[in-house]
Amino acid sequence: MTLIHFAILLPIIAAVFIGVLYRYYKKVHLGWFVLPVPVLIAAYLFTLIPTVSNNQVIFESLQFMPKIGMNFDIYIDGLSLLFAILISGIGALVVLYSIGYLSHQEKLGNFYVYLLIFMTAMLGVVLNDNVLMLYLFWELTSISSFLLIAFWFNRERSIYGAQKSMLITMFGGFLMLGGFLTLSLITDTFSIREMMDQMPAIQESPLAPFALILILFGAFTKSAQFPFYVWLPDAMEAPTPVSAYLHSATMVKAGLYLVSRFTPLFAFSELWVWTILLVGLVTLVWASFNAIKQDDLKAVLAFSTVSQLGLIMSLLGVGALGVHSGASEQVFTVAIVAAVFHLINHATFKGALFMIIGIVDHETGTRSLKRLGGLVTIMPISFTLTLITSLSMAGIPPFNGFLSKELFLEAMFAISEADFSVLADVSVLFPILAIVGSIFTLIYSVILIRGIFLGKVQPKTPKEPKEAPPLMLVPPIILSVLVVVFGLFPNLLSGTIIDPAAMGILNTAEPLNTEISHWHGWDSPALWATVSIVVIGTLLYLFRNTWMPVYRLGSKSLSINHFYDQGLIYSSLGAEKITDGYMSGYIRSYLVYIFSGFTVLAVITLINTDITFDWSTTSEINITEVAIMLIILASLVAILITASRMVAIIMFSVIGFSLSLLFVFFRAVDLALTQLAVEAIITSLFLLAFFQLPKRARHEERRRFKLNNMFISVAVGAISIIFGIAAYSNRLFDSISQFYIDNVYDLASGGNMVNVILVDFRGMDTLFETLVFGLAGLGIFILLRLRVNKKGENEYEEHA
């Protein structure tokens, strides 16, 4: 445990205390207690900046499960530090903002616990070196995002959005795990660092393309790239602080982090380069095109986020092309620098925009563009902030978005001129797509400003609009100040944060010495592109009524959302069909399946292996054992012939108690004890369930002889005996029990071997068994108490 490990785990530890605190103390808004956590982490991370910008990396190992290579290894270079600072910094602002946004009536305990879990998960993703741990934290981000989207869980749209995001991101995450495992097959390690050292092995391996594609699935689903972006607009049902934090500034960038982290590994492959580049550009254009038609303000921002993520993704593609071709040309480095720079800029302006939209929603009661307008006189501060951040998003000087947009356009122009064998014919398309995407971005930025704040005052807002309280204004003001400062003095960032991060992506130790300048000269194509974007964008905005009908083209049944919904319906229908096919509802049918399957498999095994029976090692049978076996047999026969269920139950427990007696004779005292306790409880359970059984119908009272059942039961019994004897006669290797006998005191300092195995040597098994036990209890609770009422709704019955 080092301070860094503690910093990652701090939020989740705090979550425990926060949850308990909220139960007993509600006077002060819970957010004030949460706020120190991200602030402390951010402060600590800032102290690491000097180390990292001196091109040093920090590596701290913590053994978690060393036997399978799953260790909590922290690796901090410029790239991970940048993400970690974004997570904690924006996190602090979002918590501050949420104090104003969420009132005391909301379930604050839930909200902050989920948020803190997310913080740990996200920090864990970006600071980890071990892919297994990375995956663990990756899925934890999906789960906490699910919980946060479903925060208002009585709304149908929230549940729909939460489920959608969970299904899509977990689908990708699971494929990503496949990619990681494939990589570890090639390199025989789970550490990303050690994988990097085995570059030649990866390049030669035929498995590499599979690993690459699978990992890209994870990145594209998480970062909402085309065609997986559909979950992000629906995720906007979450409270606005969550949208600002998870679905704009941090979680959706985890995919970008993954791509950046694996760029040095996979950039040798053309597949990697072109997939990222093309998917990124398509996402940029498609999402920004769709953002314009949205009426809900948060939907506009959601599509805008998707398109900006596409932009950064395509820049990473250009950068990867540089690593791929081995060319040290300026253009590729510029692309990576632009990607990192735009990542920071996007977090600032989009985070602020989300917060302002949240303010507008909070103060007017609506997010619909149709019902808003003319708020400039009422909310002057929010208007100013929107103006700054929207123009930054549109790429207008002097804000920071302009600088990174220029770098982006420059990279796209450069790559279209460069000569590459594959896709050389279409490379001219790259700058065109980039410009088209930027034009749409400009249009929806203007729509945001004009639609909310300018134009006619709309009188019919659900609430009387007023300026937000200062508490809610502070976080967007801080972000907007950053937008301006980074816009005017970009080189504040370049040496300290951008360069180390870019070097992390490129995996080089050479200093980049980036200088970001505002003026690239008259002959820079990016300049003319910007000018044309502004001109064409303004024209298109002014004449938008003439071309807006374009959105009505295309049928709904072709949309990705339709595909998703239908897929969901049909997969559940299909599952139902299959399940109905074999789930008869009778335990006896299931037993028939299980035992027939067992018999078939066992017989196949018996035929294919030569088994010998060796009686020499078996011990002698003494009279007590024979007696017990006779009692068991007699009870069995009694169960079969008796007409009374009561007798059957009692005979059943006789078998159990005789069995524990047998254990005593074999000196297995632990087993005997457990068996006795289990038997006592099972008997009482049986007696309780006794009343629940339906009355036997008259024709059932006589037992009929069932040939099938007899055949199955005789076969199962015979096979069990054969296997038991065969297993004892054919020792393929030494029994492990000697190891336990030798080590029970030295390694576990215990005396009772059975129990030491349970809690120590094989403690994981016990852990999961307890989990199964607990879940079985809860499952029965749900089965008995959650009923469908007459209206077809689920109803929870509470009986004291």
Binding site: A677, I681, L688, F691, Q692, V754, G777, I780
Partner: protein, 165 residues
Amino acid sequence: MKSTLKKLGYARVHKQMNDVFLKYTAKVVFPIIIVFSVNLFFSGHYTPGGGFVGGLLAAAAIVLLLLAYDLKTINKMISFDYKWLIALGLAVSIFVPLVLMIFGVPFFTHQAFYMELPIFGEVPIHSAVFFDVGVYITVASATLLIISLLATEQAMSDSEGADRH
């Protein structure tokens, strides 16, 4: 036997059956079983016993009370919510192996040390005990949850039946 069974569904018989012997025995035996269960639990590391058996025995003790008295009385006596106890038990058994990592050892590496206590002399303190506490709580509460659920169900179907007649 039959009268005992009827006890399980307390509403089935309207006049309370007064099984004095059973009730009295249960009263006397209950603390003995609980003490034995705790004893089993603590002796687990050196002699037969452990969290699983201990938990089952604790559950069995309460089941005995359930047999002697009725569900309402038991619920009044023991007012835990078993669902929460399950969660607590699981939390304990996952946190102990995690907390062990503070000692700089891998997940689930138990630590043992010895302590000098005034009366007991040298007492071993083993982190496995804390893990086993989680097992004990989970096993006992899950068993009790299932049994009390079935008993409630039983009582409900009885009262419904009584209403109909």
